[in-house]
């Protein structure tokens, strides 16, 4: 599903990722961990083509992300569900509209959008908050809306960047339970986190980054 070949990312003189080689198979649940500044977020941003690798290649679902023409970037992003630490919900849209937006950009008819968005929100236990605006929700609820948005179009891959960073431990466990369910349905899940307790509790493959280098867990088990 994901292959990185000797990927390096430099910002002028600063090296964020250095010679990272990594393989994640379809259907895996993988944690990407390491201290702050280790390059976790940079790796995820390169997979989404928010950043270009300085050298090396990144293949996501068979697509060479670095070589992708600009016009194909939206297609790549539609095939990946993303969850962020700060939720990144559109504040002026209702919960239902936030989730349906992903289907909207994909050209799904409106009636199907509402139905699928409702189902996704039911999956995260928020079908009673369809008309609420993000600001009226708790942090845990906002993150569950973000997860519903990430999975509403049934992507092959789910990327999560510190998804529990703003949540208390109980909510973090709840979010991980949702990720496990999503993974059980066949979606590959890659979660970047520095929460060691959470990683130990989940008992899944863990890739460790240190100073931009993959120091452990780079190969599928």
């Amino acid at each position: 599903m994901i292959r990185l070949f000797n990927v390096t990312k430099r910002y002028n003189d600063v090296v964020a990722v250095e010679g990272a080689t990594l393989e994640i198979a379809r259907g895996e649940f993988v944690f990407l961990t390491g201290p702050s500044g280790a390059g976790k977020t940079t790796l995820l941003r390169m997979m989404l083509r928010q950043e270009f690798p300085s050298t090396g290649q990144i293949l996501v679902n068979g697509r060479n992300v670095g070589a992708l023409p600009t016009s194909r970037i939206p297609d790549l992003r539609r095939s990946i569900g993303v969850v962020f630490q700060d939720f990144k919900l559109i504040r002026r849209k209702t919960v239902l509209d936030n989730v349906a937006y992903v289907l909207n950009v994909a050209g799904v008819p409106r009636s199907r959008q509402r139905k699928q968005a409702y189902e996704a929100l039911r999956g995260v236990g928020l079908n009673h908050k369809l008309s609420a605006y993000p600001d009226a929700l708790s942090g845990g609820e906002q993150q569950r809306v973000a997860i519903a948005r990430a999975v509403v179009n049934e992507p092959d891959l789910l990327l999560a960047d510190e998804p529990t960073g703003n949540l208390d431990p109980d909510l973090a466990v709840e979010i991980m339970r949702l990720f496990r369910e999503i993974n059980a349905r066949g979606t590959t899940v890659l979660v970047a986190t520095h929460d060691r307790d959470l990683i130990e509790r989940m008992q899944r493959r863990t890739v460790i980054l240190e100073r931009g280098r993959v120091v452990a867990g780079g190969e599928p088990t």
């Binding site: 928010q50 939206p74 849209k93 950009v105 948005r149």
Partner: protein, 306 residues
Amino acid sequence: MSALWHNLRFFAGDAWEELRHSPGVNLLAVGTLIAVLFGAGLIALVLSNVETFVAELRDDVRIELYLQDDVSAERREALRAELSATEGVARVEHIDKQEALTRYRDWAGEMSMLIDGLDSNPLPESLEVFLAPGLVAETVGSRIDAEFSEKEGVEQVRFDRELLGRIEALLSLARIGGSSLGLLILAAVVFVMASVLRLAVYARRDEIEIMLLVGATPSFVRGPFLVAGVAQGLISSIAALALIEAARRAALGYTGDDSPALFDLLLAHALPERFVFALIAVGLVVSCTAAWFAVRHSQGLRKIAT
């Protein structure tokens, strides 16, 4: 087609949602556009009235060919046909001696008794030349003078060269001044609107980033801004037109019957239809162009192209 319809519906809904949720920035954009279009419209109103006044003056100006007393009817008709075929001539009317006398009496009033004492009518018959719009009246007058004053049967060609020259100068001034002002205003409006809308885009930069991250194409992100631009342009230009007409009527009504001649000259006629449509078109073009520029230069949309 259905995809286009789907997108247009979404853009319209999203633009409306945005207008409701950020009334401040949108009111600022509409207010700015109304103010500038109102100013531009007032200038257009004054210029169009000046142009109408000058054009009416020009319509009253005619070139007169006095004919010799012994000219035959055939020769007169030949001259008339020749004049009618001349470039810049709208029509030619024959004024016989009797009509010339009647006009003189109307003009002279009691003084006409001077001519009534004569045995015969001393006034010559003439051909009156009315000018077509478009060409420079002074040039047409001079050409007719040069071509016809020596022709058989023509006694004299008469026209007020100085008046025609002044009218033409006034007309050119009104047109050139109007066009230059129009262009200046257009550039200023685009600049001001682009700045205002850039504020709107800046306020939504996080939202734009989210939209792009979940797979929206740049054109899908721009769509609602452009639709909002169309709505703002339409609302602003209609409001500006209503304000211009209200201001014109208020100014004329305030001065009443004692309105100074200058007021009548500058505000007598409402904004002509062509200016009304032009103002609406300017409102639409400006707001759409400004919206397009504002979104085009948004950081989020630039990033996707890197």
